[in-house]
């Protein structure tokens, strides 16, 4: 059985005067913001959001802590981490052996952080930023030397750190973070 068509009417809210009042209020808010703008646009290269510790950004290897277990490569869901075989000279015994070292391919990495979590000796750690630019896709496949360096962070050199805090009246508000040594 087909549905019966029902004509619905939206009840009008308030009379002319309440509508007039609403318009005046809207314009008043507009004028208030016009003379006292509370902007929160991030002017990106000149400002950057300082992220907290524990943010899952780019991953760096501490080679001296690594025990070559390969857990990071095994757990990686995107197969970004892989193991390469390189000779390693033990400083105590002076013998040279082939060992498996992890390297990362940022073309594949999804920044899930499983490798950092699973590492038994905390040889991997995150840096708290993600805005790093590589010129080509080949460069994003890191080798062991590159994997041990923290990637270059241009935003920190160019800009000032800011953070967003929730204000009860204004909603989100952009606040400049004072650097160390700067006057509060």
């Amino acid at each position: 059985m087909p549905a019966k068509p029902v004509s619905k009417q939206v009840p009008s809210r308030g009379g002319i005067f309440s509508k007039f009042k609403g318009n005046i209020e809207a314009i008043a808010i507009g004028v208030k913001f016009f003379f006292n703008p509370q902007r929160f646009t991030l002017i990106y290269p000149k400002e950057y959001i300082k992220l907290k510790e524990g943010y899952r950004g780019f991953i760096v290897l501490r080679k001296d802590k690594c025990i070559n277990c390969g857990s990071c490569a095994r757990i990686c869901p995107a197969a970004a981490m892989r193991l390469i075989r390189l000779p390693f000279t033990d400083p105590k015994t002076g013998k040279t052996r082939m060992k498996l070292w992890p390297v990362i391919n940022y073309n594949r990495c999804i920044f899930c952080g499983y490798c950092v979590d699973v590492c038994p000796t905390e040889a991997l750690y995150h840096v708290p930023y993600h805005d790093v630019v590589y010129e080509t896709m080949d460069v994003m496949d890191l080798d062991l030397e590159e994997f041990q360096k923290e990637p270059e962070w241009d935003a920190e050199k160019l800009g000032l750190p800011v953070k967003y805090v929730v204000d009860e009246k204004m909603g989100l508000v952009k606040v400049r973070i004072k650097e160390e040594g700067e006057k509060q």
Binding site: I16, A26, I27, I29, G30, F33, F34, P37, Q38, R39, F40, T41, I43
Partner: protein, 342 residues
């Protein structure tokens, strides 16, 4: 040599040419470029953004508009195969020209030597010319042979029924007060603080909102609403012709603002035109243009505050609120004329 120079100056300052080209086209174009920048900046300020910035950070992105203009100028003008070519090209031109022609019938001074035409029925003539240009917007929508264009044109047609009566009645209330259609008389009657915005605020409110309606100002930007009908009647246009279409609405709003400045805001008052070209013509026109620019800034401020009404809501407002308001304003004008306030 000086004879040629004198002749050139004489031709340029010949009132019809001066008024149409300089006061009607060049200065309003400059004002429109400023207003476009101001509109974007104001909307950004109110909505907690920054607006145009990266093109020239030191002057708050002022060159962004020039960059946009360049982009429009060098874009290819595409004329689709399915359009009706003659009206497709002629309609935007006609709309643009008819938006600026009314400036000829508006006096910028009280000295008769600087009138482009006889001013005795100038209020009627300028209003009549101002109400012509939307017809060509409908025509361009029809000629585009595109469903969005046709819907946009039809929306414009609906809106004409909404605003035309309101705006015309509101402007005519000035004629009701003074008993004259001569804009010079209307301005002279507003000497002192007897501006018609104070004497007849109802008609001013009706005229103000009527102008917003007629030039798709923001609460009533219905005919070109991007989210619903792409660009309304201008969907098929590209390049400079599209820019011309968009500029025509702003130019029309500028001419309407000049009309409001003359009819309701005292024209060249409190300045009194003196002798000669500069004191008698240039300074009073600058006073009027400043008033019109301030009005334009208020118009563009509304973009930051309001959303968009639906078509039926706009018609509802126009017929149920604005039309009685305009009639009341007209009645108030007649009452003031009867009581002899002027």
């Amino acid at each position: 040599m000086s004879g040629i120079l004198d002749a050139i100056i004489k031709i340029i300052t010949w009132p019809p040419l001066w008024q149409l080209v300089v006061l009607g086209l060049l200065i309003p174009l400059g004002v429109v470029v400023f207003i476009l920048w101001f509109e974007r900046k104001t909307a950004a300020r109110v909505q907690r953004r920054i607006g145009p910035y990266h093109v020239s950070p030191k002057i708050a992105g002022g060159l962004q508009l020039i960059a946009d203009l360049m982009r429009y100028m060098f874009q290819e003008v595409i004329i689709p195969k399915t359009v009706d070519k003659f009206p497709f090209i002629v309609a935007p031109l006609a709309a643009l020209i008819l938006s600026i022609v009314p400036v000829v019938a508006i006096p910028f001074t009280s000295i008769e030597a600087y009138f482009p035409i006889d001013m005795s029925y100038s209020l009627i003539i300028s209003l009549a010319l101002l109400t012509l240009s939307p017809l060509f917007i409908i025509l361009s929508g029809w000629a585009s042979n595109n469903k969005f264009s046709v819907i946009g044109g039809m929306r414009e047609a609906y809106l004409i029924t909404a605003y035309e009566l309101v705006a015309v009645l509101a402007f005519l209330s000035a004629g009701a007060i003074t008993g004259s259609f001569n804009l010079v008389d209307i301005v002279e009657a507003q000497s002192g603080v007897k501006w018609f915005i104070i004497l007849n605020p109802l008609a001013f409110a009706a005229a103000f909102i009527g102008v917003l309606l007629s030039t798709s100002g923001f609460p009533f930007e219905i005919a070109e609403s991007e989210h619903e009908v792409v660009a309304g009647a201008f969907t098929e246009y590209s390049g400079l012709v599209y820019g011309m279409n968009m500029g025509a609405a702003y130019l029309k709003r500028m001419i309407f603002s000049i009309m409001i400045a003359v009819v309701f805001l005292g024209g060249w008052q409190p300045y009194t035109p003196g002798e000669g070209f500069i004191a008698g013509y240039l300074v009073p026109s600058i006073v009027i243009l400043i008033k019109a620019t301030v009005l334009m800034m208020i118009f563009s401020f509304f973009r930051a505050v309001y959303g968009r009404y639906r078509l039926d809501q706009a018609l509802d407002i126009a017929w149920k609120i604005l039309f009685p308001l305009a009639v009341l304003g007209f009645g108030l004008g007649l009452l003031e004329a009867y009581l002899g306030i002027i």
